[in-house]
C-alpha cells in the first residue's frame, strides 16, 4: 500500500512516516506542499493521501479540491492531519473532499483507526 504525505514541515512528515512504519506501511512518498503533491501523483499511483492544511504555494484544502476534480486520482482516500480542529474547519475540509480528519497531536492508534476507517472494504 502506497501513501503520499503532503506537509510543509519535514518534522511532521518524518513523524507520520515513522508512525506508518510502526503500523507496517513502508511505501511512503513525500511532498512539501499541495503543488508538489499534485506533481507526485502524476508519477505513479497512490492508495492514500495524508495532507496538512496550512502550507505555502498550495494549501491542503486547495490540494484536495484539485485531487477531487482530477480524472485520474479523484477517488484516492484523503486523510487530513492538522491543528485546525474547529467545527467550521472540519466542515470546510469535508466539503472539499476529505474522507477523515486527524487533529494534532495524535497517537499511532488514532492514525491506525482513521486509516482503516477510510480504506475501501
Amino acid at each position: 500500500m502506497r501513501f503520499l504525505i503532503v506537509d510543509d514541515s519535514s518534522t511532521m512528515r518524518r513523524i507520520i512516516i515513522n508512525t506508518l512504519n510502526k503500523l507496517g506501511h513502508q511505501d511512503v512518498q513525500e511532498a512539501g506542499n499541495g503543488k508538489e503533491g499534485l506533481e507526485r501523483l502524476t508519477s505513479g499511483p497512490v492508495d492514500m493521501i495524508i495532507t496538512d492544511w496550512n502550507m505555502p504555494e498550495m494549501s491542503g484544502i486547495d490540494f484536495i479540491r484539485a485531487v477531487r476534480s482530477s480524472a485520474t486520482v479523484k477517488d484516492v482516500p484523503v486523510l487530513m492531519v492538522t491543528t485546525n480542529a474547529a467545527k467550521d474547519d472540519i466542515v470546510e475540509a469535508l466539503k472539499a473532499g476529505v474522507n477523515s480528519y486527524v487533529v494534532k497531536p495524535f497517537t499511532p492508534e488514532t492514525m491506525r483507526e482513521k486509516i482503516e476507517a477510510v480504506l475501501p472494504r
Binding site: 518534522t11 515513522n18 496550512n54 491543528t83 485546525n84 480542529a85 474547529a86 494534532k104 497531536p105 495524535f106
Partner: protein, 162 residues
C-alpha cells in the same frame, strides 16, 4: 484588565503541553508552579513563538536550551541527538504550533472562543531576550523533562477571562 491571567487559560496550556509532549515527543513533562510577571526572562537559546487572535489575543512561546531542543528534535524524529543538524528550527516550530493549536482547541471547548493562529517562528541564538510591549499579561510555565528544564509562556494582549 485583570492583574493575572485566568487560571483556566493556564490549566489548559499546561494540559496541552503535556499532551503534545506525551504523544509527539514521546516524553512526559512535569509542570511546576507557573510564574506571573513582566520581568520574566527564562534562559534559553531556542525560542518558538505562535500568535493567536480572536476575542482573546496573544502568544504561546516555547523556551529551552539548545541541548534540550536537540533532544526534543531527536525524539520527535526518532534519531539520536547527535544526528540532529538542520532539523531543529522546523521541529521546534512544529512543537510550538501543536502546543498552541491544542491550547486553541481546548479553549474553544471550554469557552467557545474561536481563534486564528499564526505560522510559528523560531529564534536560535545566545545572549538575547524578547521584550514585549507593556500592555500584556504573562505567565511562565516551567516544565521538567527528565533532568532537563523547559518553559512555555502564555502572553495575553487583551482581556483574559473578562
Amino acid at each position: 484588565m485583570p492583574a493575572t491571567i485566568d487560571t483556566q487559560f493556564v490549566d489548559e496550556l499546561l494540559a496541552a503541553t503535556r499532551d503534545v509532549f506525551k504523544t509527539m515527543v514521546f516524553h512526559d513533562v512535569e509542570p511546576s508552579s507557573p510564574m506571573s510577571g513582566d520581568a520574566l526572562r527564562p534562559g534559553a537559546n531556542v525560542v518558538g513563538t505562535v500568535a493567536f487572535a480572536g476575542k482573546t489575543s496573544g502568544l504561546v512561546v516555547f523556551y529551552s536550551t539548545l541541548e534540550v531542543a536537540q533532544a526534543i528534535t531527536a525524539s520527535m524524529l526518532g534519531v539520536e541527538p547527535t544526528s540532529v543538524n538542520g532539523e531543529l528550527p522546523d521541529a521546534i516550530g512544529e512543537l510550538t504550533n501543536m502546543i498552541a493549536g491544542s491550547f486553541r482547541t481546548r479553549m474553544a471547548g471550554v469557552r467557545g472562543e474561536t481563534w486564528a493562529i499564526s505560522v510559528p517562528t523560531v529564534t536560535v541564538g545566545s545572549d538575547f531576550y524578547t521584550k514585549y510591549v507593556s500592555d500584556v499579561q504573562r505567565v511562565l510555565c516551567p516544565f521538567r523533562m527528565g533532568q532537563a528544564e523547559l518553559y512555555v509562556e502564555l502572553i495575553v494582549t487583551r482581556s483574559a477571562g473578562q
